[in-house]
């Protein structure tokens, strides 16, 4: 397996979708190639820290005020 082929499999590796034979070649390359081992670590870490981003936060107060002004008839009109 080449380094390029190894990289192309990272998504499937992360998703646990590598078939057994491919996974064996993948792991063999990983053990033998320090660059790919480091690349895999950093690729995995990239995904991991992105998943820790807050999905949401408060609306900026100016945005909330403008939206409430624009939508006031709808917000108070019914319900």
């Amino acid at each position: 397996m080449t380094c390029d082929e190894f990289r192309q499999l990272l998504g499937d590796h992360l998703g646990g979708e590598l078939v057994v034979e491919v996974r064996e070649s993948f792991e063999t390359h990983r053990v033998e190639c320090e660059n790919c081992e480091f690349y895999l670590e950093s690729y995995t870490h990239t995904v991991k820290i992105t998943r820790k981003l807050p999905k949401c936060g408060p609306l900026p107060s100016a945005v909330e005020a403008r939206l409430r002004e624009v939508l006031k008839d709808h917000l108070h009109g019914s319900g």
């Binding site: 390029d4 998504g11 950093s42 870490h45 995904v47 998943r51 999905k55 909330e64 939508l71 709808h74």
Partner: protein, 198 residues
């Protein structure tokens, strides 16, 4: 004359809160705004999209039976509204850059030296400066890749759902997600190689 008292019946599940326009605004406006802002990379555009989505939702409130059904629908409406907004803006500015970038995303070639990242202990919450670096990196992704990255790795949606939402095949979603992750890795690498986030 009377037997032992009967045990009380199982309590009914608490009713879902009434879905009023004010409830929708309070519960969903922040979520809509943040998805749109990450997809569009622009605060003002995100505000326009949030307004558009809230109007759509409030006008159709009668057709929803409860909060859970509404939540699912909102994701889809927000993504569609953000995509439509971007397309309208691109047409207005006569730019076709997003189409040209659909299948091209350069990443560092394999074979060169790779430095190990200094990531430190695993913390459950990101430090503010780390979060800011990642948000900026997401903003640097070309739109077709950014959409998928945001929906998959920030919002946590399954690839199949993203494919349906964006009208793409599953292999196309997986391929773009993989390339987006590689690009994100490249953008973040200088911040994590050696000394952590700088």
């Amino acid at each position: 004359m009377t037997g032992p008292p009967l045990p009380p019946p199982d309590p009914a599940p608490p009713p879902e809160p009434p879905v009023t326009p004010e409830f929708v605004f309070r519960e969903y406006a922040p979520r809509i705004y943040h998805i749109a802002r990450r997809m569009l990379g622009n605060d003002a555009d995100a505000e326009d999209v949030t307004q558009d989505v809230l109007l759509q939702v409030i006008r159709k409130l009668d057709t929803f039976r409860g909060d859970s059904q509404l939540s699912t629908w909102l994701h889809r409406v927000t993504v569609n509204a953000a995509l439509a907004y971007r397309q309208k803006r691109a047409t207005r500015q006569k730019r076709e850059t997003t189409e040209a970038a659909d299948d091209v995303l350069e990443t560092a070639p394999a074979g060169g030296p790779v430095k190990r990242w200094n990531v430190g202990p695993d913390e459950p919450v990101l430090a503010a400066e780390q979060a800011a670096v990642i948000e900026r990196a997401i903003g640097d992704l070309p739109p077709p890749f950014r959409d998928i990255y945001v929906l998959a790795d920030v919002e946590g949606l399954p690839n199949a759902e993203i494919a349906e939402m964006l009208g793409l095949s599953l292999p196309a979603v997986k391929s773009r997600l993989h390339r987006a992750r590689m690009r994100m890795r490249d953008i973040l690498a200088p911040h994590f190689e050696g000394g952590g986030v700088s």
